[in-house]
Amino acid sequence: MSVRHALLALLSDGPKFGLQLRQDFEARTGEVWPLNVGQVYTTLQRLERDGLVAGEDADDDLADGGPRKHFHITPAGEVELGHWLRTPPDLSSPPRDELVIKVLVAVQVAGVDVHEVIQVHRRYVVELMQQWTRLKADATTADEDLGFALAVDAELFRLDSVVRWLDAAEGRLRRRPVDVAAAPATPRTAAPLPMPAPRRRTGLRR
C-alpha cells in the first residue's frame, strides 16, 4: 500500500493535522502492515506540491515555534484516490514462491520423500493459520476492528490456498507413483525446474 494513497484516504473523511495523520496512519495500518511512519511528512509535502492536498497554517503554533498545518484533500486528490482504488494491482506474473520451488525441487532430488517435504510445509502453514484464527476469534468481541478482521481474513485465505495447493500437489504425485528421483537421470543441466517428461500412466489409480 502506498503511503501516498493511504494519506489521501485518511483525509477523505475530513481535514486533519499532520500529527493526527501520522497517528491515524499508524493506528490503521501499523498492526498488520508496519510501514515507515517517517515518510508521512515528506509524502504530505509532495501531495501538496502536486495539488492533491492543501495545507493551511493553523492559528496556534507548535511548541517548537513552527506553524501547525491543517491538511485537506482537494478535488484533484479525490479523483486520484478514486482512480487508484479502481486500478487493479499487477498480478499478471506469478510471484517467486519459495515453497513451490522447494516442492518442485524435492520431486527431483534422489532420496527425498516429497510427501514428507509437503507435510512439513503443510503443518507449518496450518500452524500459522491456527494463530491467525485465534486472533480472529479473540478480536471480534470488540468489533471496531473491521479493517483488522478483513486483513486477517485475507491472510487466512492466502495461507489456505497454499494448503490447497499442497493437497493438490500430493494428490497429483500419488496418482503418478513413478519415482522420478530414482529414474535414471536424463542430462538436463540447463533447466532448473524441468517439467517431468510425459510418462505412461501406471495402472495404480485407486
Binding site: E31, V126, E127, Q130
Partner: protein, 240 residues
C-alpha cells in the same frame, strides 16, 4: 482424564481380496474443552475414526473410552444412551429426519432423553438462532438448502449437555461466513468443557482447533504443535 481416548485402534472392512485397512493403529486423546481437527486425503480413514469414536461402529482391534467408560464393554443399550445423552454427532450427509421440522430435529435427542418438550424446543431455537436459522425453524429438511440442512445438523449436535462433539465435514456445503459461524458454535461448546473432534478438508476450519492431526493411509502421520500466543505473528519475526 481424557473425554475421548482411542488406543491402537484398527479398522478393517471386508476380507480377502476386498480387504481395506481403513485404520492401522490410531492413538488419539481429546481432553474436555479441547478441539481437535482431523485432516487427510479422501479415504485416509477420517470418517472411520469418527464413527468408531462415536460408538457407531466397533473397531477391529484396539480400545476406545468415552468419559472413561470402555465402549467395547458396553451393551447396545448403554452405547445408545451414551450417543443420545453425551455424544453430539454431525454426519457427513447430515442425517436429518425428513418428517420432522428443523426445530424438531434439533430438539429430538433432548426429548428422547427425557427433557420436556418445552425446554428442548427452547434450547433448539437458541442453537438455530446462533446459526442464523431462526426463520427456518419450522421448515422440513427438504425445504432447506444444503447449507441450511448442514447447520441444522450442527445445531442438533451441540444442543443440550453433550460432552463429546464429533463432526464429519460440518462445513462441506457452507460458504466461508457460515463455516465460520459453525466453528464459532463448536468453539463455544468446547469452552463449556465439551471435547470436540472435527473432520475436515478445509484448513480454515481446521485452524479453529487447538490441535490438528493429519491422517494418512489409516495412520496419524503428523500433528501440529500447541498454538503459540498470537503475539508471535505481529512482532514481525516470521520465518520465511
Amino acid at each position: 482424564m481424557s473425554m475421548l481416548e482411542m488406543r491402537q485402534v484398527t479398522k478393517r472392512y471386508g476380507h480377502g481380496p476386498t480387504e481395506v485397512n481403513a485404520l492401522r493403529g490410531v492413538d488419539l486423546c481429546v481432553d474436555p474443552g479441547e478441539l481437535v481437527a482431523v485432516m487427510g486425503p479422501s479415504g485416509s480413514g477420517k470418517s472411520s475414526l469418527l464413527t468408531i469414536a462415536g460408538s457407531l461402529e466397533a473397531p477391529t482391534s484396539g480400545e476406545v473410552f468415552v468419559g472413561g467408560a470402555d465402549l467395547l464393554a458396553m451393551s447396545r443399550n448403554e452405547t445408545a444412551r451414551l450417543r443420545r445423552r453425551s455424544i453430539g454427532y454431525v454426519f457427513q450427509d447430515f442425517n436429518l429426519l425428513a418428517g420432522l421440522t428443523a426445530a424438531e430435529n434439533v430438539a429430538l435427542p433432548l426429548e428422547l432423553d427425557g427433557t420436556s418438550v418445552k425446554v428442548a424446543r427452547r434450547a433448539a431455537m437458541l442453537a438455530l438462532g446462533e446459526l442464523g436459522l431462526d426463520d427456518k425453524a419450522s421448515r422440513f429438511p427438504d425445504q432447506l438448502s444444503g447449507g441450511e440442512r448442514q447447520r441444522v445438523a450442527v445445531a442438533r449436535a451441540v444442543v443440550g449437555d453433550r460432552r463429546l462433539l464429533l463432526a464429519d465435514e460440518p462445513s462441506g456445503a457452507l460458504d466461508s461466513e457460515n463455516g465460520e459461524a459453525v466453528m464459532r458454535l463448536v468453539r463455544a461448546a468446547c469452552s463449556r468443557g465439551v471435547a470436540g473432534v472435527v473432520v475436515t478438508h478445509d484448513a480454515q476450519l481446521a485452524s479453529w482447533a487447538d490441535r490438528v492431526i493429519f491422517l494418512r493411509d489409516g495412520r496419524v502421520a503428523d500433528s501440529t504443535a500447541a498454538v503459540p500466543g498470537p503475539e508471535s505473528l505481529l512482532t514481525g519475526g516470521r520465518p520465511s
